[in-house]
Symmetry: C3
Subunit: 206 residues, 3 copies
Amino acid sequence: MRLRLSPRNESFFDLLTTTASQLVTGADLLGQVVEADPVRRPELAAALRDAEHAADESTHAFLRKLNTTFVTPFDRDDLYALASGLDDCMDHMEEAADLIVLYRIGALPELVRDQVEVLRQCAALTADAMPRLRSMKDLPEYWVEINRLENEADRLYRRLIADLFHNGTDAVEIMKLKEVVTALEDAADAFEGLANHVETVALKES
Amino acid sequence: MRLRLSPRNESFFDLLTTTASQLVTGADLLGQVVEADPVRRPELAAALRDAEHAADESTHAFLRKLNTTFVTPFDRDDLYALASGLDDCMDHMEEAADLIVLYRIGALPELVRDQVEVLRQCAALTADAMPRLRSMKDLPEYWVEINRLENEADRLYRRLIADLFHNGTDAVEIMKLKEVVTALEDAADAFEGLANHVETVALKES
Amino acid sequence: MRLRLSPRNESFFDLLTTTASQLVTGADLLGQVVEADPVRRPELAAALRDAEHAADESTHAFLRKLNTTFVTPFDRDDLYALASGLDDCMDHMEEAADLIVLYRIGALPELVRDQVEVLRQCAALTADAMPRLRSMKDLPEYWVEINRLENEADRLYRRLIADLFHNGTDAVEIMKLKEVVTALEDAADAFEGLANHVETVALKES
């Protein structure tokens, strides 16, 4: 029998994995909001809001555990940063769906679908990577791919903004769409920020 | 006589309480800016700026104390977060008043008064709660009520933004008002962020 | 021969100094973007992007060193904050140049040149100050002067925004210019934030 002097509390990883799986649900619902007929969007955005609340619950459970656990699997600050990084991803996706409904936006530019597709891939990769934090194995492929996707998101964002300002005629429409497109870009940035933090943790632990 | 092995430096609480009482002054002046005739607004906004500078002074005194004190009443990072949380509340209120003057805004939508009323209540509750950090007693009623007020602020904000975009005709006017309304919403969020941090501290200390 | 029990790893200062010198290059290129004929701007903005990448490289080298060094010249969090403060300055300058190109802006208001001139002075002062972190000598003159420059930047920003809203006629043009002017103001704020952090470190170490 092998004794562990510094027992690692495994269930931090379970909670991060649960939150990350809600990002997959969120990104999927966000895709449905974008594709849907405007009259169906409010109920889809409400479902995304529910997914965000569920993610908040697991984040709170994680933080309660963090505040009451003496020995943590790695640095307390890093665990906090991972949880709040996941939270940021969800918040920006929820914000984008919410703005689409609040501003009663009609048809969205085609490239917005590509933005959401990038977010869906980011969410799937993130949900896959979280359980691997336990063993710290096979993580580089995750952060390398997220960085590649964020670069793609960045190109899409810049093309969308340029199109908006050059082809748009109604200033109010431009303002509304710009906010939606920016919330989607912020979500992609949040996925990258999280992946960068995972890289930092992996470096420290190696 | 009772000896304290780990003496608590009380005056951190005094400084937080001083800063919080300046938020009450600030919220009151913000209400006056909103109600006032446009020609009187610059002097009222200047008075609010003075209140913000006074709050900055007490925050700086707090941070100096924090940087030079060895044993703090609770975690250094938490004390820092509380001070900077109070600072955020004031900054956003000051920003809102400042934008009203800078953009030479005339009449404000009725719901903006409701936003400011929520902020006044948040400031009063926060000023009441700060001295209770010493004993950690009766704090849950504070953060529960702040969370309720922030939800109300959120509903007001969303109605204001929707009204602005659907009824507004002049894009430049919409841009100006949207920034004011957003600064007020950011202030409400800052009060909630502070209350959440107080909750975290209370949990750790319990 | 004098033995050092707690050897200070000098090269943290070298890396900060290298990053800061890239800010001088960046501010200079930003000035060229502003002055240039619109057709020449894309290549100048690309050169600024190269300077930003070079600064990113030295920041990454700094963070790798920070994560793998046991004894650091001062608090780990402070070193992290200094590196990310330098990074923020560069990011906002790069963002401003980028927006000028992306939005295909023509002539810029005269006061934008004054904003950039302030940033050039901030960059030069910062690059001068970084090597002095080693000895902690003659730093107050740096942060006092940066604070003075930031106040000047703030006045310029407010005049530009007021002019934009009062004299501007085209809402879309106003939106574009406002973002450029705000990115420049954010850069000035970032220089001030960094100087404030240097002040905090100096206070702790004194």
